[in-house]
Symmetry: C2
Subunit: 413 residues, 2 copies
Amino acid sequence: MLPTTEVPEAWFNVVPHLLEPPPPPLHPATREPVGPQDLAPLFPMALIGQEVSSEPWIDIPGPVLDVLRLWRPTPLVRARRLEQALDTPARIYFKDESVSPAGSHKPNTAVPQAYYNREAGVKRLATETGAGQWGSALAFACALFGIECKVYMVRASYLQKPYRQVMMQTWGSEVVASPVDQPDHPGSLGTAISDAVRDAVGREDTHYALGSVLNHVLLHQTVIGQEAKAQLRLAGEERPDLVIGCCGGGSNLGGLALPFVPDPAVELLAVEPSSCPTLTRGHYEYDFGDSAGMTPLLSMYTLGHDFVPPSIHAGGLRYHGDAPIISSLVRSGRMRAVAHPQTVVFEAAVQFARTQGTIPAPETAHAIRATIDAALEAKQAGRERVILFGYSGHGLLDLQAYADYLGGRLGDD
Amino acid sequence: MLPTTEVPEAWFNVVPHLLEPPPPPLHPATREPVGPQDLAPLFPMALIGQEVSSEPWIDIPGPVLDVLRLWRPTPLVRARRLEQALDTPARIYFKDESVSPAGSHKPNTAVPQAYYNREAGVKRLATETGAGQWGSALAFACALFGIECKVYMVRASYLQKPYRQVMMQTWGSEVVASPVDQPDHPGSLGTAISDAVRDAVGREDTHYALGSVLNHVLLHQTVIGQEAKAQLRLAGEERPDLVIGCCGGGSNLGGLALPFVPDPAVELLAVEPSSCPTLTRGHYEYDFGDSAGMTPLLSMYTLGHDFVPPSIHAGGLRYHGDAPIISSLVRSGRMRAVAHPQTVVFEAAVQFARTQGTIPAPETAHAIRATIDAALEAKQAGRERVILFGYSGHGLLDLQAYADYLGGRLGDD
């Protein structure tokens, strides 16, 4: 473990640093750029302002910092045992976001979203969740700010992961399976977003909250990369040569990588599942964020808003599109992307557990796969490299996936 | 969160500080004090030496420190949100042992036990586990030191907690249900200890490892209390007025409380379940550690080695006896004990989750119940008090218990 730094007091806005700022969201009916009033039924003005801001830094409110400090700064850890097992000259560091109450990076944005909504007088939030990480995070944040919360959970996960439901209920949230009107449908993030948006639009006291993709969500996550940067310096590293994160919607990857965008010497790598290969095989175009076509159109790499990915265990990576900011970085060549099938991903996860000791989330294991590959390349090339990867969450609520892998029951999709 | 200190480089031995040192273990057949050779089939000499040592400090070997530093020092956290919710003048601190790879304090002793066995050339360890915390911790430690591990898991837990099994398997251990020869028996810690001891005695390459009760186990856990003491000082507190820990076998409680024993101004409190009330309703006498009567006789508070407690959710607190060191402290009046039924314990756990954010293990929730009670007493008395409690583990693999509580299906036993 490394010396800790302070929690940053401002979020880092990458937009002024992008070669190609993401094109604006379009209204789903008119296909004209959306204005603040179009978004007002869903989000408080403070978040709408952050969504379109080009200010380089945005102050984090004191009451948000007070909550983030319950678990932040998170540890930056040098993975010495993994280095030794790989016999690599690379120095491997990971930023451990699994220490949050909900077990992932998601509370970094759940907390400010709950806070700004409460400040705007909103009494209730509706949201979707896939694997359950985001729903858990928002349930936690709403408990601390005294807001009601209703979570529409992708039905397949709802049925497979009853303990994720219990977690959200323990924090006082209501959880239902999505799509609510088709009890035989397994659901997708797209259907669950549609359900949650419909709920929020239909009730005066209710707003909507999204756990990834949007600019303000990635903005809130930049505490991760800012802390990592300061901690690496305290550890005597000038900079990482390579920053690696798993990518579903892009909030974990963005949170870690965006603060490094202005430094061209730092290589950035997105890792996605082969079965939902948005960045490596998707098209860059305007598409809806949800399956029903209710959200604004976003400019992004997408497999199509009606794409239903296979039910791989890394539920948090099963989104049909990517954050416009991440898409812009990949399109401009500033960030690379690779895709891996889940069998080699779990092989890396088990190797990590048996060397470093902790059991990663299946999503996180994608970053570990790419890290091990990069460390082995460095070994072949006889080259010192500093690799930083995002340990986005723990796998303690995903142990069925490990059982399937260890039992030889895991396919590549 | 509070400033961290260094990981202690020696274990604190409380034995020289006890008013009544615990009477020696007796041989199960001869009822004479056991000698080192009697224990040699089970433990390496280094641990046997620690078991009977009266040295005030025992150095922690470097390779053990290297592993402990993967997650230590653990955070000492001021529970400000809980204080505010209770509107108490008490200052509440907790020492968070849930951040270890296995999710509890148990790795603090699993790591040195695996290390000393490997140093002695032992290739394989056998152990028992109840709720699974200890088995997980030893599986983790054995993975890091390259030792095989076989875990005999109380059958009731084996059937109720398949994910605990997966965790141990992920670290490479073998897990079987106990008692192995009675497939219809629900098992108890006593039967599982018998199975594991029988395994170790029957194989030349195998030793036995115990996760609580014995002197060397409590010794290894004293890193907890030593760190807490230093962290409290860094936070500006001279000492805690009251130290609270849940007590099954006594290793969590001992680890936190023993370093405070020499300071008579610090009050010590053990919290146990009403359904397994060893310290509050047991007899102080020599009894076996296991149900089959294979272990040495220990001088302790006991409900009888054939006592089978109701299957409450805090599986880690369902042991029929207590550590001889803890028993000695209670008998001499240096430590108090209280018992609580599990309904009020889960009420405290949910209050904690909704204020501080994290979901505690059912065992830990016993300490939280007593902490809330003490904080409310301080409020009634209008008295500032510094309360330190042990957050021994997280509840992420115990969510069924929360589902039962929230669903109104939880009885007091």
